[in-house]
Symmetry: C2
């Protein structure tokens, strides 16, 4: 069952009914003043950091869900009818409804009883306010006297206090000043120069309510406010209680007449700044211009890769939604979504380190800044802290086995994309004192891993490796070992050999080669005969072995082994033949199988999460991306593409009732075939899937893979494709790649023709194209 369709011309997804199985969200803003908005206008607004600067409230995982939001109520004073033009929260049946989630904006249109309305929500670039730009039109033959009511619920900026304590409301001040309702959560304990929040409108105002209880009424909720029922607000102010922002605005419309209006939510240092913001937000030509600028900025963001393949769903994702999700994930790490509650997560070190991979081609400056920040919470022993809070600069945690290794891929990918070798010598402090060059940070991370080995010589699992939900494996003796981390470190060493060789740094090349040789010496201990183990348990037992009934084979060790280039082609193919046999399913690939249920140290059952869910036998898409890359490295074109295609969000548009989550972006996972809810998506929007899947698709399937001194052109596509092309902007040069249909299955590029000149290999040297505006590349198989 469908709930909407892709309008690719307008770069929008159009939701055609309001009762989606879960709220289908969009993000507004680009990391500064920002918000999330659902297809029925639920969601919240915050500034930079939803934990410390949350402006409006949102109730996560509570019933009724997706409440509150940016609400409007229409009351027809003639008939007495009340509805919300966004369906929620009144849920009155509408004569028509559509929600268009676009790039950085959402537009909800509806009609009821001869009243048509359209409201566009967006945050102009670099501004501290969100605009609801609306029109309301009388399509009937009689005069319509309406009243419009707004409703938002203000939050204590420090969301944790607001959720866990009763007292913050005693500090709230909220009152109307002219056409703005101004909220002050108290400067008694909130350190914020933009202390004032507000909602304002350019409509004529008949009354207002700042008191939540006065607007809603006793024993009522957002679906049936007493003020709307009465048709008048109570003009209440707040002086130490729960606060809302409600205006009552009379609007009279002659037959056919249309009126425009604006509501604004923002934050500011003082009332003067509020006035300026509200004036700007009510300047219709300016607002129009800002919305066009916003669209243009997002168009530019996806211009770095535009593809034309025979796979229309792939095109839709790569040309529109995938880069958008990459950017939002880069902005918010795992901090705030419908599932992540914007409290304690901030930016995860390993999360954000991987998120940069998805925007390194489109926003290299932001990536460089993020790399600096993250490496700044690495310790001088090489290990990194786990979390960083962008609003306050605080960090916490540490002691995981994988965090510090991710830095290698991120830094190498950044340098390959940009050629910014100077960055490698930049000094970056350690969180516990002292400083080191970027290169030193990378090496210290790998050294840390080599200094924390278990009894089989494999890196210790420590507090956690990539899979937190497996952490129980090391809770008893702290001796568990991780094949994931081992192959991750080997792959990192492989990357560094390549980097140091390119830098002609003999000493470091030798260091990296020695490291890799050590890895080569350890590899056999992890070979289970047909695939690689997941590691060893706290008691030294093999884990992820054919000997066991459950948890026999894990996906990640196979993928990362291939990425590390340690295994022979034979071993690699054996791994993936077994992945295909044990882990593939019609919707993608599961994390491991057969998944066990419950904790039992004797039986080597270490997952408390239910079987088939997330990292316990679910389709965990982040892990799928490495499998796809591994398949391309093994020359298994068909399997690589088939897996990629099966997991495209677009392919589940027709069964959204089962998948439940948004079909225009990747969710973090999908419930696996061992579970009765097979196919149900979980935790959409913020996921490491975004960046790595973008790499898998662009660098490994379409095969545009920047390297230090040029680009490897190495598509890995299926035989069924009748050729394809794409344009990739690389170091400012527009590179158009064209490929014919493959001559045979699994064919790979042998040569390329660049602007008509045939090269000897599939490597495009940067020196040959430097300074050009564009180049045309044809792939020869």
């Amino acid at each position: 069952m469908k709930y909407g369709y892709y309008d690719n011309d307008n770069r929008e997804y159009v939701i055609t009914r309001p009762d989606t199985p879960t709220p289908w969200l969009n993000y507004l803003g680009d990391g500064g003043f920002s918000g999330i908005i659902s297809n029925t206008a639920g969601g919240l607004v915050f500034d930079r950091d939803p934990g410390n600067f949350r402006i409006t409230r949102y109730n996560f995982n509570r019933i009724p869900y997706d409440r509150p939001g940016r609400y409007l109520y229409f009351k027809d004073m003639g008939s007495g009818a009340v509805w919300s033009p966004t369906w929620q929260p009144v849920q009155a049946e509408l004569d028509s409804y559509s929600c268009r989630h676009g790039m950085g904006y959402t537009r909800i249109s509806s009609e009821k009883d001869g009243i048509q309305s359209e409201i566009t929500y967006f945050i102009p670039e670099g501004k501290q306010y969100e605009i609801w730009k609306g029109t309301v039109k009388n399509t009937s033959a009689t005069v319509k006297n309406l009243k419009l009511f707004s409703y938002v619920e203000f939050s204590c900026y420090i969301a944790k206090y607001d959720i866990e304590c009763d007292w913050p409301r005693y500090f709230f001040d909220c009152r109307r000043k002219g056409n703005a309702i101004i909220f002050n959560p108290s400067d008694d304990f909130i350190r914020e120069k933009r202390l004032l929040s507000y909602i304002a409108t350019d409509l004529p105002i008949e009354g207002h309510d700042c008191a939540r209880i006065e607007f809603l009424g006793t024993c009522r909720d957002e679906s049936n406010p007493i003020a709307v029922e009465r048709g008048v607000c109570g003009n209440s102010d707040i002086n130490g209680d729960n606060a809302c922002g409600s205006f009552c605005c009379p609007v009279s419309l002659a037959p056919g007449e249309e009126k425009s209006f604006v509501f604004t939510i923002g934050n500011a240092c003082d009332e003067e700044e509020i006035k300026e913001q509200v004036a700007s937000a009510s300047d219709y030509p300016l607002v129009h211009e800002q919305l066009e600028e916003l669209k243009a900025a997002w168009r530019k963001n996806s211009r770095y890769l535009q593809v034309k393949t025979p796979d229309e769903q792939m095109n839709t994702m790569l040309n529109i939604w995938h880069p958008y999700q990459c950017r939002m994930t880069f902005n918010w790490s795992r901090f705030i979504s419908f599932y992540e509650r914007g409290l304690d997560r901030g930016w995860g070190y390993r999360d954000s380190m991987q998120d940069v991979l998805g925007v390194v081609h489109s926003a290299p400056d932001k990536v460089k800044e993020r790399l600096r920040t993250l490496m700044g919470i690495q310790k001088s022993d090489g290990n990194a802290r786990t979390l960083y809070f962008p609003g306050t600069g605080e960090s916490m945690g540490g002691g995981r086995s994988d965090d510090h290794i991710w830095t290698v891929f991120s830094v190498c990918t950044y340098v390959k994309e940009t050629g910014d070798y100077g960055f490698l010598e930049e000094l970056i402090p350690f969180i516990d004192g002292g400083e080191g060059t970027v290169l030193q940070h990378l090496k210290l991370g790998l050294e840390f891993t080599k200094h924390h080995l278990g009894e089989h010589g494999v890196p210790l699992f420590l507090g956690s490796d990539w899979n937190d939900s497996l952490s129980k494996i090391s809770w008893d003796k702290h001796k568990a070992e991780s094949a994931f981390v081992f192959f991750q470190a080997a792959h990192a060493a492989y990357e560094l050999i390549h980097l140091f060789e390119h830098l002609k740094d003999t000493e470091n090349t030798q260091w990296a080669k020695q490291y890799y040789e050590w890895c080569r010496s350890v590899e056999p201990v992890l070979w289970d005969g047909k695939w690689y183990l997941r590691g060893f348990t706290d008691y030294g037992e093999k884990y992820g072995t054919d000997d066991d009934e459950y948890n026999k084979i894990f996906l990640n060790p196979q993928s990362w082994a291939v990425l590390s280039r340690l295994p022979s082609a034979e071993k690699g193919n054996s791994c993936f033949e077994n992945v295909k046999q044990y882990l593939f399913c019609d919707l993608g690939v599961v994390s491991h199988a057969p998944a066990s249920s419950g904790i039992d140290f004797q039986k080597k059952y270490f997952f408390g999460m239910k079987t088939g869910i997330r990292e316990n036998g679910g389709l965990f898409f982040h892990a799928s991306t490495w499998a796809i890359i591994a398949e391309t490295l093994l020359g298994r074109n068909e399997d690589a593409y088939s897996l990629y295609h099966r997991e495209l969000p677009t392919v589940r548009n027709d069964r959204a009732d089962v998948c439940k989550v948004e079909p225009y972006i990747y969710s973090s996972s999908m419930v696996g075939p061992s579970h009765e809810r097979y196919g149900s998506g979980e935790c959409s929007w913020l996921s490491g899937t975004a960046s790595w899947m973008f790499l898998a698709a662009s660098q490994y399937i379409l095969g545009f893979r920047p390297d230090y001194d040029g680009v490897i052109i190495d598509p890995c596509v299926p035989l069924e494709w009748d050729g394809f092309s794409y344009t990739r902007i690389y170091r400012g040069i527009s590179c158009t790649v064209q490929s014919p249909k493959l001559p045979v299955e699994n064919a790979r590029a042998k040569k390329i023709i660049v602007d008509g000149e045939t090269l000897d290999s599939n490597f495009l040297p940067y020196d040959t194209i430097r300074g050009k505006q564009s180049v045309e590349i044809v792939v020869v198989y």
Copy 2:
């Protein structure tokens, strides 16, 4: 406007309409398996500790409020009508409704469309389950085919995870086994032997739902579940998602027919134990007996003081509700109510130390145990940690200036009440190692205070004194000084002199006298000419002085000065004349005046809370109690009683629409006259008001004041009273005190007649009544 009345014969408060201005709550259970329940069946269930062992969910301060709860839906399959017999969550209009909050139980009765129902909610003493004992009766002339649906929403036991994180639901398991729906939140991370929760019923079961989304439906909430609308459940189980407990039970009733049923919510170690519990809970005679036992236990709890005064409202409070509130406050400190969210507060050291005062006469063994536990988190330097968590035994915090001093009053009051002198020599460990006798704990607390003095020789404010909301006063230089702590310490020293003299402990008596003499030497520095200062700010400036325009006079320093007996009668009366002038209002007494608004160190404005709210100029009842006691010590009978009477919860029954909170228990505060919401109650149920107001009423107004070797009989009542009497159980002896009308205003007892024998003073020596069952005491003025 009224919402109910007191049914004193049944020891119940009867709520006659469901839409009370706030949810009016009752507590079920007595500190073990427990719950809170509102007048429309909202609330939650937990075991011992609502932070670590929360069983059902409850949404604090979120809209719709007071959701979810222990819900039932009735569907008349003939007419299709749907309603909740407790009004919420459906809110369908009922033909009749009443909620009777009794002692440890709540009964909600209603009728609609010829269906009468009555449901009694209670937790049998010492049991791990809550019972909903119901009847449903057909009062119409036709057969009624009903379906009853239940609904509770299960919580991850660790409430913080449940509220802050999305992942706990991935661990949930919930499925029906016979007549029970069993919920397992996962033993992966929850340390609890009673890991299984359940809901069960003895009704015939047609279907069930364990999946919240299946029962409620997409975009629906508790008010309109899809399952109820359809009239059938979906038989869903839960294997990693939000879980609920819903049964669908068909009930057919002939005209006039009545059926009984039971629902049970509990927790248990295994399914066997669940079966046993459910069997007991469905044993109707046993359930009836348990309810009667429960009522008897609560009757016994208030038998320790039964009063007959001309003030009927005072009688209602002291004979029924006030001791009940004292016990619930003792059980829950400030941990869980409609306002306290059961997360981070546990038992506060100072809170619980004071809570024991309200139950020391009725539950001395529990008090002794609590005193041990609390002194066990005192450090060897005398300072106490701030919080203790009963579920886990963990403690945290410390560094406040008042915590450790409260111990003196609690221990002295316990020993005076019980004569248990042995307790004083009991060894109790310090949280940081070592141990000391109870007496050493007390002395170390006072020594700590004397070792932390500011530049005026007055104790430092430190992290906080009693008034946390004034803590800003010491945030800059940490040099602020507290008159509150000074007089509190002086009062404690005064108490200890008395104790040590009684113990004939010369050395310690000398120590206490020296301490008190030091206090005497410091007292003048705090005298402002007409009253006592509140202390000195961080910059050494006087605070709470007539020199200032705002925050001139604070209530607490005046009360505690009088309690300390340091001031002359002249000074004491001057203080309270000014209290009367500046702080009295028609509803009681405010914390200080004129209250300032906002933080301004220059102007000595240190309150961020809104003016008129709580400790910033509100009626903070905890502080009122000490004023009442001080007035009695000053011989100001009329003012003492008048203040006491004005603040009785019962006096606000007629204006419950303004007061909003429950009129049968004290709220922590009421909004003060400087605020537009003057008279609105805040934070009801858990408050230091309970215990101290009980002392003020029983020991100081009615004047039954146990001392080390007997009882001081010293009523302080108004001239208007035509005499009064009460019975107080003291060390097992039933003491009946009778008093005639006062001969003149402010008269105080000169002598007492004990069983016909006139004594020389108003002191009743314990030796003269030891071994008696009862004594009759007549007061002579």
